[in-house]
């Protein structure tokens, strides 16, 4: 039993150092993100009814299915166990309007995985956030259902209502901030409750899975840029708190912009990325033709990822500039 080199029962590993590894690997981290989305899922059920689970389920199922089919066709290893397809499905489902058409949801899922991820070569190689690619496609293809919002706490098919952002944009009405915070307003399935988003998002930061700099930069940006307009004219423009809690801002900050693959690698890059998104969101909300700009802002900044990595290298230890 002693000489382990001579005992065939021992499987001796000879890989070079380091010989130990941190507790996190991609797979665990991805499933942690799935877990972190549960509070938002619960808020969706609370405010828009149990049927929202159907929309999310269809979205997840078609994302997973699309990934499997593409992997099989391309004769690649099926890596669905890494959870990234499930995350895309959950994210897409949660940013659709309540009671969104199930066939359209399925189409969005296929686009998200096929065009958003797999055409680039699969996980790790995509430039744009897949879930947002899916949503952008749906927004362009089905503009009417994509902007039909049911009212929170009302039964499914009946009442349609303005979101706080469109109410502000088209009628200059500011929503009650406590309703905005807890999510008792109309909006996308999982985006309305800032409270639920914060629970999941802060958990991910505490667990060291997402980098705090991206949401911090976005929030800082919204406070600064939103604050400037608010100070200029508090009657016409909403306060920064409204900007933070309305629409998909926090959901985007914690779950979309923090996507490992499509956010910058360097710390400076992450700050620029987050501030850039916030600036664009505020401009779209105040001057743009659309009530909400989080999706386009993130997709737009995604495009600059490689550029930011190139021009914001970390400071070399001991280097004197």
């Amino acid at each position: 039993m002693l000489n382990i080199s001579e005992n065939p029962n021992y499987k001796l590993e000879l890989a070079s150092s380091p010989h130990i590894h941190s507790r996190w690997n991609t797979k665990q981290a991805m499933w942690m993100v799935v877990l972190a989305l549960f509070p938002s899922l619960i808020s969706a059920v609370v405010f828009f009814g149990i049927s929202q689970l159907l929309v999310v389920s269809v979205s997840v199922a078609f994302c997973v299915l699309t990934e499997i089919i593409i992997k099989v066709v391309r004769k690649r290893k099926i890596s669905i166990g890494d959870g990234s397809g499930v995350i895309t499905g959950l994210l897409l489902g949660l940013i659709l309007p309540p009671n969104f058409s199930l066939p359209f949801t399925a189409i969005g899922s296929v686009v998200a995985i096929a065009i958003g991820k797999e055409v680039f070569g699969g996980i790790g190689f995509n430039i744009f956030n897949p879930a947002l690619v899916g949503r952008a496609f749906l927004q362009a293809a089905f503009p009417v259902p994509m902007t039909t919002w049911s009212k929170a706490n009302y039964s499914a098919d009946a009442v349609s209502s303005a979101t706080p952002l469109s109410a502000f944009k088209f009628d200059s009405i500011f929503a009650e901030s406590s309703n905005l915070f807890f999510g008792n307003v109309s909006g996308s399935i999982g985006e309305t409750s800032a409270f639920a988003v914060l629970i999941g998002g802060l958990f991910l930061i505490a667990a060291g899975i997402v980098n705090w700099r991206v949401p911090a930069a976005m929030i800082l940006g919204a406070v600064i840029f939103g604050g400037i307009f608010w100070i200029i004219n508090p009657v016409k423009y909403p306060d920064p708190v409204f900007h933070l809690f309305a629409g998909g801002f926090l959901f985007g900050a914690f779950f979309m912009a923090t996507d490992w693959v499509t956010s910058p690698l360097t710390q400076k890059g992450m700050w620029i990325f987050g501030l850039g998104i916030a600036l664009m969101v505020i401009f779209v909300r105040i001057f743009g033709g659309l009530p909400e700009g989080v999706m386009y802002a993130i997709l737009f900044m995604n495009a600059f990822g490689a550029l930011m990595n190139k021009y914001t290298p970390p400071k070399l230890f001991g280097e004197v500039k």
Binding site: S17, P18, N25, W260, Q267, E319
Partner: protein, 445 residues
């Protein structure tokens, strides 16, 4: 207010599970002299030593059996008394087999030692000479001949000697035990180094996970004016020279430069003890203090072992390995070398033997890079590991060079952290070798 004072450290780094509880409470045990020792002729960085004995010669413990060859080299002494049976290539813990002297012990007790010196009247030259003839090499891993680091250069003013008591590698508790059990030798050794370099200021940097050692040192250090105990944050690689200097006195060693360039000499705890033993007690470096640990060894221990003892005998002395052992490492888990031949001997600078089980190794299949940026966040030297590893993989050596691949000290922090289990430091190590080779070719061309 005390809470608000920031504990000294550096930027980046990781905190692996310490696993020091396996051996930290155990004092050193002296392992009995083995039947046979294998003493490699190269236990240091630099030219291998030249054997001065022949097959069948009788040698005594402490006798010189190999002389230094050139400046960057050291003499080697017999660690046991006995008969030289072979001088040939033997397996080695650092990698490929190297020339070694095999001595069969005859269990004679007679030893050869140096004269004992009085620390109060000794001169810097005498210290250096003794450190050289005792064959002392650095105990921090690189095994650089110590007397060279104690030789001041005219153009570089040294004003600070820092003793590295971080022991930031998980599992290892050798330096910790030396600081507690041989506090006098540790500080005495540091004092001798300061004297050799004509330096007034000395410090011992210790991570804050070793409160007992800090307490002991702080008590003893009162007798040594000019020496301070610096409590540092427990973080890997706090014990890397550049990180240690940054934490202790705030200076950053520029890329491609040495501690000497900022006026600092860094030495290991084990080296200080070896210097004290050589100068004050007259003993050459023929033993190694080391930690045998990991969840794959039956009885983890802190041991004092004769240089040349085969690994297999040390493992046997510690009760053998468990059934779920998968890896045997010489050194720490972050930078040590995995072993394939257990007849390889313990060397002067061996600090530990780890027997790791599957759950400790925690290996997972590799995935593509997900651009999470964690390797950049933890790299203590401000490199972009994922990028330079990729350049190395694609054999784009010029780009790798421009991205400072040669600055990497191979601490492994990036690979430890990578959620995709990409062997980043392994690729970088390979690329670094190629880049250095290409640079050399360019110089000679």
């Amino acid at each position: 207010m005390k809470l608000l004072t920031k504990i000294k450290s550096f930027k980046g780094g990781v905190h692996p599970k310490e696993s020091k509880e396996l051996t930290e409470h155990l004092g050193f045990e002296i392992m009995p002299t083995p039947q046979m020792v294998i003493i490699p002729l190269s236990q240091h960085i630099g030219k291998p030593s030249i054997a001065v004995i022949k097959k069948k010669d009788e040698v005594k413990t402490g006798q010189i059996i190999a002389e230094a060859d050139g400046f960057v080299s050291v003499p080697i002494h017999a660690s046991v008394s006995g008969i030289v049976t072979e001088i040939h290539r033997e397996p080695n813990v650092a990698g490929s087999p190297i020339e070694a002297i095999v001595i069969k012990s005859n269990e004679q007790k007679e030893t050869i030692s140096f004269t004992q010196m009085n620390p109060s009247i000794i001169t810097p030259d005498q210290i250096r000479e003794r450190v050289k003839e005792a064959g002392i090499v650095g105990q921090g891993g690189a095994a650089f001949p110590t007397f060279i680091k104690l030789t001041p250069q005219a153009e570089k003013k040294i004003d600070y000697v820092i003793l590295n008591g971080c022991e930031c590698e998980p599992y290892l508790t050798r330096d910790y035990r030396l600081m507690i059990d041989q506090t006098e030798e540790v500080l005495g050794g540091l004092k001798l180094m300061m004297k050799a370099l004509c330096v007034e200021k000395g410090a011992i940097g210790v991570e804050d996970n070793k409160p007992e050692a800090i307490l002991m040192l702080k008590e003893y250090v009162k007798k040594y004016p000019g020496i301070s105990v610096e409590v540092l944050k427990t973080k890997y690689p706090q014990g890397a020279e550049k990180m240690l200097i940054k934490a202790v006195n705030g200076k950053e060693v520029p890329p491609g430069k040495l501690p000497l360039d900022v006026g600092v000499v860094v030495q290991n705890i084990g080296t200080a003890v070896a210097i004290y033993d050589a100068v004050i007690k007259g003993e050459p470096q023929i033993t190694a203090a080391l930690t045998v640990s990991g969840r794959g060894i039956m009885n983890p221990k802190n041991l004092i072992v004769k240089v040349g003892t085969p690994l297999s005998e040390v493992l046997e002395y510690c009760g053998g390995v468990t059934n779920d052992a998968v890896k045997v490492v010489v050194g720490g888990p972050m930078m040590g070398v995995a072993q394939y031949d257990f007849s390889a001997p313990i060397m002067k600078a061996t600090s530990g033997i780890l027997v790791l089980t599957e759950s400790e190794v925690n290996s997972h299949p590799e995935t593509p890079c997900l651009k999470c940026g964690k390797c950049i966040e933890v790299c203590p030297l401000g490199l972009v590991p994922t990028k330079i590893a990729r350049y190395s993989q694609l054999e784009k050596y010029e780009e790798a060079e421009n991205s400072n691949i040669t600055v990497c000290m191979e601490c492994g922090t990036c690979t430890f952290t990578c959620p995709g289990n990409i062997p980043l430091v392994q690729w970088i190590r390979l690329g670094k070798k190629r880049v250095l080779k290409l640079q050399k070719e360019k110089l000679t061309a």
